[in-house]
């Protein structure tokens, strides 16, 4: 059953508005560790996500099995009679739209042999590394959305590759690559090159020190930071009060060279969409522009509630970001590192947790290349440190942004992201005692 048929079936019942979203995915994954393939995964799934309304009442149900659709609709009808009006739901978008065509191509992506790539990658790089592990995904998705006012179909496909390698001293580094455009696909072969560069540079590690340091943050590191930041710009989360962005609209929270977008229109990434879940065309929305909080992310209801415009980020109840991009700057990454007199160059981080979402106070654990830099030279690699800092401090201390960006998607730590290298003049480092 397609989304239109499901919509017609549901619309016969006593509802005011119906939104049917059908997502079908076909995903292949090869996972390998210590130079051997562990497992090959294949997922072939589809399901419906449905919202039905009566006045200001709204009910949501998900159905993975079409046979359950009628039972779920019956439950929804019954539930709506019991509900109070929902202040988080005002209306769905009723304006009719025409939708853009995608600009990305994925013929080569569709033909890409991931298990052969994984095997070849291990064979080509094992002479430079003691051991290698990672995952490679090939994904395709077909999305259909039907509302009382609009309908659209969207297709996308992508390749994601993450690899971690350990040098002869068992010191790790990591690289990430993601694309949804045939034109970028060959860049996957650059991953091995950068991995080998780091394997040569890492050497042995020594225990790092606490203190405040200047630092160049690799795109993988900074993608993680902005991936934790931008979901808090959802107007739903702002409205709840538990958000770094609450009360900060139009306030300066970062350096004037820092601009961060939610950009579903960059079709070269898998998080791109032509329209949101209520049929509003997506756009490139500056969330932080030249250091100022510029926009929250809205659906139709939150936009009405907070006297704004939809940014094409529905979620019918809670808007959410699609993918994050950071405006590139003018600098060369190598020169940024060489400009450090006394500081750090950090490749990756994980386990970011906030003690204070409102003020953006958090810590995160650097990994996969923590280089101590003195007078522009790497003098040693560190381990055992933690960044204990705040978003405002990091964003305000951005003093350099590279012209080069990388598209990354690593595990659950980053969204689909296109991010440059950044130089921060102060980064607070702590360590275990």
């Amino acid at each position: 059953m397609d989304a239109q048929s499901a919509f017609e079936f549901i619309r016969k019942r006593d509802f005011d508005e119906v939104v049917v979203r059908k997502l079908s995915t076909n995903i292949q994954q090869v996972k390998f560790s210590n130079n051997e393939i562990d497992i090959t995964n294949n997922w072939n799934e589809s399901g419906f996500d449905v919202y039905v309304t009566k006045g200001r009442k709204i009910y949501n149900f998900e159905v993975k099995n079409e046979r359950e659709l009628e039972r779920s609709v019956n439950s929804a009808e019954k539930a709506l009679k019991l509900l109070d009006d929902n202040p988080d739901y005002i209306k769905i978008n009723s304006e009719k739209y025409n939708y853009r065509n995608r600009t990305n191509r994925f013929v080569r992506i569709s033909e890409f042999e991931i298990s052969k790539f994984a095997r070849d990658f291990i064979d080509e790089n094992i002479k430079f590394a003691k051991r290698i592990g990672g995952t490679i995904y090939k994904k395709s998705m077909e999305l259909e959305v039907v509302t009382n006012y609009n309908s659209f179909k969207d297709f996308n496909a992508g390749i994601e590759f993450n690899v971690r390698a350990f040098n002869e001293n068992d010191v790790p580094t990591q690289q990430s690559f993601a694309t949804s455009h045939d034109d970028d696909l060959d860049e996957i072969h650059m991953v091995g090159e950068e991995l080998r560069d780091h394997l040569r540079m890492l050497g042995k590690t020594v225990q790092g020190s606490d203190g405040t340091f200047a630092a160049v943050l690799h795109p993988l590191f900074f993608a993680s930071i902005v991936s934790y930041t931008i979901p808090m710009a959802s107007a739903y989360q702002v409205d709840s009060g538990i958000s770094f962005f609450a009360g900060r609209l139009n306030q300066k929270i970062g350096s004037s060279i820092f601009t961060m977008y939610d950009d579903a229109t960059d079709d070269s990434m898998f998080g791109s969409r032509i329209a949101d879940d209520e049929g509003v065309p997506t756009k490139k929305t500056p969330v932080i522009e030249k250091g100022f909080v510029k926009n929250y992310l809205h659906n139709t209801s939150t936009a009405i509630k907070l006297n704004s415009q939809s940014t094409g980020n529905a979620g019918i109840i809670s808007p959410s970001p699609w993918q994050v991009t950071v405006e590139p700057g003018t600098e060369d990454p190598k020169e940024m590192i060489e400009s450090i007199r006394d500081g750090l160059y950090i490749v990756n981080t994980w386990y970011t947790r906030f003690q204070d979402y409102r003020e953006g106070i958090f810590s995160t654990i650097p990994r996969d290349g923590i280089y101590r830099i003195k007078n522009g030279e790497i003098i040693e690699s560190w381990s055992g440190i933690r960044v204990s800092d705040s978003l405002i401090s990091i964003f305000k201390n951005i003093e350099g942004v590279s012209r080069e960006t990388k598209k990354v998607k690593w595990w659950d730590e980053t969204m689909y992201s296109k991010v440059p290298y950044v130089y921060v003049s102060k980064l607070n480092i702590t360590k275990s005692k």
Partner: protein, 459 residues
């Protein structure tokens, strides 16, 4: 479900090992945001997951029953199983059994109005405590699962779970504090009495308000008395995760990482002799309860650390097979369509002999850390940080004023080696443990007793 044997027979024709898992779930959720109904939802999900081994392990999941589509999917799984790679599972006893979670108040008997009413009542408690930021949710899930494999395993499970989540925030004097409250229970809506939900929420709100106005400590060395919530998170992060055998073998090396524990480290010291850390999936009503794991291996209690020594690993058939040992029945999945990997269930520091007063009475200068906010640990599970939320100063054996955000940043060995006394109480807390690629968040309990650490750096 009716095709489960047909699918197994098809896979079995072409591979050395084959397995079919079917699951059907029904779930419901209601949430409130700052006093108003926000989301009401219901979901159904069902599908088949397959595992086949020839030259390597091949996994697949599909939620369609059209035979031509399923056959194409199975053929791809068979083809992928011929890619050279790791191909061993441990040899285990074969079971044919049915199991279920005992339920008193059935999920299907709990009306939507009742769930809304519960959240309204909780919200009202928080309003009376003047808590301005309140996100509350209650949800339940019923699951039927069937597992069969080419070795003769036939396991049928019937699972019910109820969960509560609250996120509350409080401002005063320019300071903000937040608290996330997660409660989980395998069973029915008798969970509400088990949790003592209304009293729990009231106590959390009071503690949050006090923490905002509390004063920070002077950095230095203190004795530290930890509450069961801290025992639980530490047991989970620095005993449970590092003893997962797949991490030790490197299978998570590019994601959640590895372990400071190596394969030959059983018997090596990790803490003082008072330290016993257990993972036990068989505790009645625990959030991660199971009788058979996802591989069909019978569940049992595991001593991860025993008398301060590394004792046992958490393994599934895949990881145990790689080292020619038996599985310790830790194979779990977050949803039906994910590949099984070693996971924790209920992880806790085993109680000792001390009551709370005895732990505190000879502390001259110390800290009592009852709950935490921020925490994290490195990817070998050695360097960790816990920021106290509800915490108090201890002076001359007496609990004094509440203190703000005392921070423990230490190592696993230092933490467990500093324990000199373990309480006789035991309390569990719910959590969602993340691991795997794609990410699999599984329901767990974690907990323990109060315990005392001597002379540890706090800031």
């Amino acid at each position: 479900m009716q095709n489960i044997d047909k699918y197994l027979n098809y896979l079995n024709r072409y591979t050395n090992f084959s397995e079919v898992y079917f699951s059907e779930t029904f779930s419901n959720g209601v949430s409130f945001k700052n006093g108003s109904l926000s989301q009401v939802s219901g979901s159904t999900s069902s599908g088949y997951a397959f595992r086949a081994i020839d030259k390597s392990i091949s996994f697949g999941a599909i939620n369609q029953e059209n035979w031509s589509i399923v056959k194409e999917h199975l053929d791809r799984i068979i083809e992928n199983s011929r890619i050279p790679g790791r191909d061993k599972l441990s040899h285990e006893e074969v079971y044919k059994d049915k199991w279920s979670v005992p339920v008193q108040k059935k999920i299907e008997d709990m009306d939507l109005e009742d769930k809304i009413s519960i959240l309204k009542d909780i919200d009202q408690i928080l309003v009376e405590k003047k808590i301005p930021m309140r996100i509350l949710a209650i949800g339940d899930i019923k699951q039927r699962e069937f597992l069969i494999n080419s070795e003769g395993t036939e396991i049928e499970g019937d699972i019910s779970k109820v969960g509560f989540f609250g996120a509350i925030g409080y401002y005063e004097g320019g300071n903000f504090e937040q608290r996330f409250i997660q409660l989980g229970f395998s069973g029915g809506y008798e969970a509400l009495e088990y949790w003592d939900l209304y009293a729990t929420i009231g106590e959390e709100a009071e503690a949050l308000k006090k923490s905002v106005i509390a004063k920070p400590i002077n950095p230095g060395y203190y004795d530290l008395v930890i509450g069961p919530e801290i025992s639980g998170i530490v047991a989970h992060e620095s005993a449970g995760h590092p003893t997962e055998l797949d991490r030790i073998l490197g299978r998570e090396m590019a994601q959640a990482g590895e372990s400071f524990i190596k394969l030959g480290d059983k018997g090596k010291p990790v803490g003082s002799p008072q330290v016993n850390v257990v993972d036990d999936p068989t505790i009645d009503h625990s959030y991660g309860y199971y009788k058979y794991d996802r591989d069909g291996v019978k569940a049992r209690k595991r001593y991860l650390y025993k008398k301060g020594l590394i004792n046992e690993f958490l393994s599934n058939r895949e990881s145990a097979g790689r080292v020619n040992s038996k599985s310790t029945a830790a194979s779990r999945i977050s949803e039906w369509d994910k590949d099984p990997i070693p996971r924790m269930s209920t992880t806790f520091i085993e109680p000792g002999d001390f009551n709370f007063e005895e732990l505190v009475e000879d502390v001259k200068l110390g800290i009592y850390m009852k709950s935490y906010s921020e925490w994290n640990i490195d990817d070998i599970r050695f360097n960790e940080k816990y920021v106290g939320l509800e915490a108090y100063l201890i002076e001359n054996g007496e609990i004094r004023e509440q203190i703000r955000r005392p921070t423990l940043e230490t190592t696993t060995i230092k933490f467990y080696s500093s324990i000199d006394a373990v309480g006789k109480d035991l309390k569990f807390f719910a959590g969602t443990c993340g691991k795997g690629d794609p990410m699999q968040g599984v329901d767990v309990w974690m907990g323990g007793p109060h315990a005392r650490l001597r002379n540890i750096y706090m800031r």
